[in-house]
């Protein structure tokens, strides 16, 4: 399947929290768990204030730090989205530190973040948050179509918001959650160029497999060597005992004379 994406249009969001509630109900989230958090950001100086509702939610990065560190495969990339298989999660919490956006949370010892409603998508539906938004601020479809739609929307609102732009076209290899922003990312509290530290990849792709490889190698080497070593030791011991016995006997015979 081609890459999918969510499109969140901050020019349209009215901050009603309907998506937050729909996500919670649809995905049967626990008390205190939330895959979307909405923050109101007020810009400008009185009386020229303008407010925006900024969504804090998984950006489904193509180059996802959380997937890089996840040791169990609980997090993985699927069709441009970052899938979650909570049953595989070991609760290590590495993804919490590795996400440049601080998205994943630990709830009850397991990871909690937006799953892109992949179970719903698999049966031909769209995510709960998309279904429910009364002002059509959240869309879901092929990433290409979403980018087209986003460009169209940016053009529409440019008159009102001269700094309007698409967020997520290139960040972290291209985000699977695109946003239409009315202003610069930084003024809205979003990093313009988020980064996954190089060390994160080195650790996951180098050190973790190395650890498993060396352990296996150690076990195999000693396992094989054991067969030879035991035999050698037994032979040596037998030879030494025989020599000692002979020496002892000679000594005893000597005593008699």
């Amino acid at each position: 399947m081609a890459a999918h994406a969510l499109l969140v249009d901050l020019g349209r969001c009215i901050g009603c929290q309907a998506c937050v509630v729909a996500c919670k109900a649809g995905n049967e989230l626990q008390e205190g768990e939330a895959n979307i958090r909405i923050r109101e950001v007020v810009r400008g100086k009185f009386p020229n204030l303008s407010g925006s509702f900024v969504h804090h939610r998984c950006f489904h990065c193509a180059d996802a730090g959380c997937v890089s560190v996840c040791p169990t495969g609980a997090l993985s990339k699927l069709d441009g989205l970052t899938a979650v298989d909570a049953a595989k999660c070991s609760g290590c919490g590495y993804c919490v530190d590795a996400c440049p956006y601080g998205v994943p949370k630990m709830v009850d010892g397991r990871v909690s973040k937006c799953t892109a409603c992949l179970d719903v998508v698999a049966t031909g539906g769209v995510p709960y948050c998309v279904q429910t938004c009364p002002s059509e601020a959240i869309k879901f479809g092929s990433r290409e179509a979403m980018l087209g739609l986003a460009a169209q929307r940016v053009a529409e609102i440019r008159g009102q918001f001269p700094n309007a732009q698409i967020y997520g076209e290139t960040q972290l290899g291209g985000l699977g959650t695109l946003m239409v922003l009315p202003d610069d990312p930084e003024t809205l509290g979003l990093p313009a160029a988020p980064q996954v530290p190089a060390l994160v990849n080195a650790w996951q792709k180098g050190i973790q497999p190395l650890t498993q490889g060396f352990t296996a190698l150690g076990l195999i080497t000693t396992g094989l060597a054991f067969l030879f070593a035991r035999r050698n030791h037994r032979l040596e011991t037998a030879a030494r005992r025989e020599a000692e016995a002979v020496a002892e006997k000679e000594a005893r015979d000597g005593d008699v004379h």
Partner: protein, 226 residues
């Protein structure tokens, strides 16, 4: 096989054996629950946070053990620390003969003291890895969520590599224990005189000459019959 009249030599006091086996229990628990964090097939252990809890419990025991060793018997603790950093020419000769020792041969090796050069290096390595595991582990415990991506990767990499070192050391340690039949020294506290002569001849001479038949640790004891 030790004959029924074989003399035995006291090697480890009860408190040393206790600390050792508690160490084994804690390290094996740490390994399994640690692997559960890294290896998908074991991640079911994370259910309800069980493996994480066990990992932390075992970590507390792990960190407390060296302290316990010194509290229970300071002389032995100091002796161990001193021995693992003291190497002489015989140790060097022994290490050169290591490949054949690995395959079960000993006749070519110089006489060894209480610890042979391989044991000294093993115990020293264990001690260094212990420090690295402890420091990085405490950071992962108390600073997770504040380390950031790079900090987390660096800390976890140190933790992983140190635990890898511990694992390799354990594999080698258990290997030699069973190749040379060394297990009784840590279970009963005694080794046969034959074993002592073979593996630690200089030690046998020293403790034999020092204080025959005394009760002090390391002194030879005549124990007839089993």
């Amino acid at each position: 096989m030790a004959t029924s009249t074989e003399r035995r030599v006291l090697r480890y006091l009860p408190e040393q054996r206790l600390v050792h086996w508690l160490g084994v229990a804690s390290v094996l628990t740490l390994l399994v629950t640690g692997l559960a964090l890294l290896w998908g097939p074991l991640s079911f252990l994370a259910w309800g946070g069980v493996s994480t809890l066990l990992h932390r419990g075992a970590a507390l025991l792990f960190v407390a053990l060296p302290v316990a060793y010194f509290v229970l018997n300071r002389t032995k603790g100091q002796e161990l620390l001193k021995e693992i950093v003291t190497y002489n020419r015989e140790d060097w000769e022994w290490l050169k003969g290591f490949p054949a020792y690995f395959l079960g041969r000993t006749t070519h090796l110089p006489k060894q003291g209480r610890l042979n050069a391989g044991q000294k290096l093993h115990h020293l390595g264990t001690f260094l890895a212990f420090i690295a595991v402890t420091v990085s582990g405490l950071l992962l415990w108390f600073a997770k969520g504040q380390l950031g991506g790079a900090g987390l990767a660096a800390t976890a990499a140190v933790h992983d590599v140190a635990m890898l070192a511990v694992t390799i050391l354990i594999i080698g340690h258990v290997y030699f224990t069973f190749v040379y039949g060394a297990l009784p020294s840590m279970t009963t506290g005694y080794v046969s005189e034959e074993y002592a002569r073979l593996e630690h001849a200089r030690w046998l001479e020293e403790v034999g000459a020092d204080s025959p038949a005394s009760d002090a640790a390391g002194a030879p004891q005549s124990v007839t019959g089993d």
